[in-house]
Symmetry: C2
Subunit: 267 residues, 2 copies
């Protein structure tokens, strides 16, 4: 089935999920929406994130997508379960795949989760991880400055190292051996986080597992694209085409051709 | 005239302007709107900031405000002049008052301006300052991480000092003797900025001058409130009542009673 997969995020972070979909599902067409006019979501309330997510899903449905990926931890945490009933195509979030991988990786039964304020306060990683294994201890830590640091492209910077040190030092006493990067921006800070946590801690990037789950679901529903054309990638944003394109060209393995602006509030 | 003054900002920063209005115009009623669902504006495009500002002005007009204050540098820079014609009440922004004060203060004829990406890129401070005195050199520097640092309440923190050092070191070679705090969040970073720049540099907080200009305009238009009741302050936001209230109670000299949520996209 050659309809596209719809993927969305509050901004550019979800491109780390698109990157994985391109790798693992190289025949699939993808339509991405980044809500760059209203980014960030991680400091906002459940009502607002739910409202924004509903508008975006309505927009993606106008494109006849065959599946929808909530490529945003905050939207996955605050809006996905409440919206699942009303979405008529298969839906995948990033939280459940991330939780599953964390449980698979941990030997000490102590898992760390970092994310936005909203994601951490929702307690959703804790809930999913303990559904899978009630013996696992989950330590959550909100890292609200990581997103602006990524958006300012301070990926390798002394100030970023200082913030990593500040936030992650609170996890040290818990001897976590796997750490979920519970925000789609965070894989871009993989290097400073790895330096601080050391080699003994596995960093879990839910993007990889999310693409894998998406593949399983498409297979199970016989929705995989059988055509062998070059896949089409379409990008939509609510603001700032040039800034988005520059970021996408850094994150993705291809240069993207066109980015279109959508009046998302009208959906 | 006892109609309220309408004041808006992308979020909480404009409360530094409300604080000045409370001081200089203690008999005036104020209605404040903070666009906390879509904050920040400073990284967004002109089209988006214009659209958001129009929705907010339409909302404020439903409250029969007698004047409107754009208490946001980004909205003042990107939207105010284009909207001035269509607004039927007096309008005051923060940029022109800030520019005027900077020109009054400088002796070296070298003025620094710090603000969001959008404000600095607009070149509006440069334009206004050089209209007032073409001999003044204006050096602008965008400081995009200052807003998230303020929102995380890291007002006195080593990391904030490091960012101040990083951004402001670029101004040092220009020997500016006055520095405009061209974002309503920045007065909350007055202390670290003052420490870095030293006593020889005057920090210009446009909030003070904006309230003064507002007072002049109300007087000239015979719009001052003549009633001697205790003034009423109403606060509206697009998201996150509790977070806003906590912030307001720190910034304002009074504890605020109620904050209401507005569906701003519907205006």
């Amino acid at each position: 089935m050659d309809s596209a997969i719809g993927v969305f995020d509050s901004g550019v972070g979800g491109l780390t999920v698109v990157r994985e979909i391109m790798r693992q599902l190289p025949s699939e067409n993808v339509i991405y929406f980044g809500d760059t006019a209203r980014v960030p979501y991680g400091s906002k309330s459940k009502d607002t994130v739910l409202k924004f997510s509903k508008q975006i899903v309505r927009f993606l449905m106008t494109k006849n997508v065959k599946a929808i990926v909530f490529a945003c931890n905050t939207a996955s945490a605050l809006a996905l379960e409440e919206m699942r009933q009303e979405i008529k195509v298969p839906v995948v979030g990033v939280v459940r795949p991330g939780a599953r991988m964390a449980v698979e990786m941990t030997k000490t039964k102590s898992v760390g989760v970092i994310g936005t304020d909203a994601t951490i306060k929702s307690g959703i990683y804790n809930e999913y991880i303990r559904q899978l294994d009630p013996n696992v201890t989950v330590v959550g830590k909100a890292c609200p400055l990581f997103v602006p640091l990524v958006e300012e492209n301070l990926l390798e910077d002394r100030i970023t190292d200082d913030m990593v040190d500040r936030y992650l030092s609170e996890l040290k006493p818990y001897n976590v051996d796997s750490l979920v990067l519970g925000c789609t921006h965070y894989p871009l800070l993989m290097n400073p986080i790895k330096r601080y946590m050391g080699d003994a801690v596995t960093l879990v990037n839910p993007a990889y597992e999310t693409a894998k789950e998406l593949k399983n679901i498409l297979e199970k529903n016989q929705l995989l694209n059988q055509k062998l054309d070059t896949p089409a990638y379409e990008f939509y944003v609510s603001d700032g085409v040039d800034k988005f394109k520059a970021f996408a060209d850094e994150v993705l393995p291809i240069n993207i051709n066109s980015v279109n602006v959508v009046d998302i509030e009208s959906y």
